[in-house]
Symmetry: C2
Subunit: 319 residues, 2 copies
């Protein structure tokens, strides 16, 4: 397939697949979530199981236009609604889990429950996002701006795996993964830069398959060839990064918040690690961003790639 | 004075002052530095003492147009040139120090020399930068994207002092300083967020004078009112930040590199702490950015503010 370069192409690709993914939404009850759901219904990419206060359908009549693709389960207590949604996903009744206006911690509590939750033992919970930046020539994936404060080497390796798998779903055959730091120098003062050396060695040994991984690099050198040229930095990333792996949550978050605000980028983001992708938007995410996150999740559970098979084997999940 | 809102107004303000500051440049020997110096000469804001290989004047004939404002000291060895520039600044022969193409570490070595350097005992060396972002309505100062990896509470307080003093020079009467984090929540998991509580208390007690300091806040909430409104965050910063204080160098650097690249922002930056501002550009900085850094330094040593007096008292320096 041709690489998907922007969110419009993502929607077009999903429409061509012509297969609605089933999304369990917990406590959808705000205009932005309603916009996202309506849009996904209209584009024909998803169907919804709305778990929560079912009076929402009365409040948002646009949802009524697709009665065959919207089912409701009326549960007023948000914690109970979360547990029920998780149970349904575990039993294969939904492909994707999505948060409405329930408190993030409460939904995470249900997801992380050791007996009845969605995170298989030993799997790492992390956040993967993608931005369409008007001044960049393709989509830019990044991790982790929201969940892991200071990733360990093992966590970084998992973050990279999720990003690579997702790139494959987006049709990127040889993803270019930049390990971000302030400079290109490795130093014991910055333990993550030592991790990067290990990761680059693993990549060179073929551990991650057909990818290019390099770092430490700064954001500019990762995304702009001229910057590397001026500094005399020779990197196979060559200003063409598909993925930025940030050293810590503060830098990932500063990147995400500042580029979305000042470069007017649109964003999609998902929790990775659970047996299905989880759409867990921020309160301040736009309706469009919530829709793009749904679309990203639909793509992740469409088709198949070697990485995804590996995850399924580990979890024993059915997709 | 009216606040200076962009770099064009900064140049206009300096031209009105009609007083050239003297800048000692170590090893000026590249086209971007030459552009910056020529521009500063042309605008009438600075005069230059070029210390290094004096054949540069032959290579860059535009500098010859201002013989009365360009003096040269021929020293071929870069380390010797650095030591000589530092000596001249110590003796009051220059107001500002600027790096040409000498290696940063070599110049820092001369600046940090305990006997003959420029950093008074007990002063903290840090980096303060300012960006003109096309999508923001005023200049945005930030620290520290380049020097201190993980600031202590005392270092953060000093960083804030430098930013406030500089804001005053830019005509900002009541600077709004946002202490940046991923969220607005204070947590022991993130020690800098505990520092922020201390700093906000100091500010509320009037320790920093007429300023507004708040945090933890994310970049979006600091710079966009709508974002805070949606999240229900009531902060006196109110989307109007003048200064962003970053938790660590990785986040400050990610902000600087991504906003300069993706939002096409122009940047100026200086080392703070030494007895004079030090223009210490990155290799990849544009000629324009180097010129703006010169202009920022000229403004810092123009006029007077209480903060600056305080610094002079501490150092015993003459300006």
């Amino acid at each position: 397939m041709e690489p998907i370069l922007n969110f419009a192409q993502l929607t077009a690709h999903l429409k061509k697949l012509n297969h609605r993914k089933r999304i369990a939404v917990v406590c959808a009850n705000d205009p932005n979530t309603e916009y996202a759901i309506s849009r996904a219904l209209e584009e024909g990419i998803a169907e919804f199981l709305m778990i929560g206060d079912s009076t929402i359908l009365k409040k948002y009549p646009t949802l009524k236009q697709y009665p065959e693709y919207v089912k409701t389960i009326h549960i007023e207590n948000p914690d109970e609604a979360a547990r029920e949604a998780v149970r349904i996903v575990r039993e294969g009744g939904a492909d994707i889990l999505m948060k409405g206006i329930i408190n993030t911690d409460n939904l995470l509590h249900a997801i992380l429950d050791k007996e009845k939750g969605l995170l298989p033992k030993g799997k790492i919970l992390t956040h993967l996002a993608v931005m369409e930046i008007p001044t960049y020539h393709k989509l830019l994936f990044f991790s982790d701006a929201a969940v892991i404060p200071r990733p360990t080497l093992q966590q970084r390796i998992e973050m990279i795996w999720y990003a690579i798998c997702t790139c494959r779903h987006f049709g990127i055959e040889q993803p270019r993964v930049a390990l971000i730091h302030c400079t290109e120098k490795v130093s014991a003062k910055f333990p993550h830069s030592l991790d990067y050396v290990n990761i680059v060695e693993l990549a060179e040994a073929g551990e991650f398959g057909n990818v290019i991984i390099d770092g430490p690099l700064d954001v500019r050198t990762a995304c702009e060839q001229a910057s590397g040229d001026i500094k005399g930095i020779v990197s196979p990333i060559n200003g063409q990064a598909d993925v930025l792996i940030f050293p810590n949550i503060e830098s990932g978050n500063a990147f995400y918040k500042s580029v979305s605000l000042f470069a007017q980028a649109e964003m999609a983001g998902l929790l990775q690690g659970p047996i299905c992708p989880v759409v867990l938007p921020s309160r301040s995410d736009s309706g469009l961003s919530k829709y793009y996150s749904i679309a990203m999740a639909c793509l992740q559970v469409s088709g198949d790639c070697k990485c995804r098979k590996q995850v399924s084997q580990v979890t024993g999940s059915s997709f």
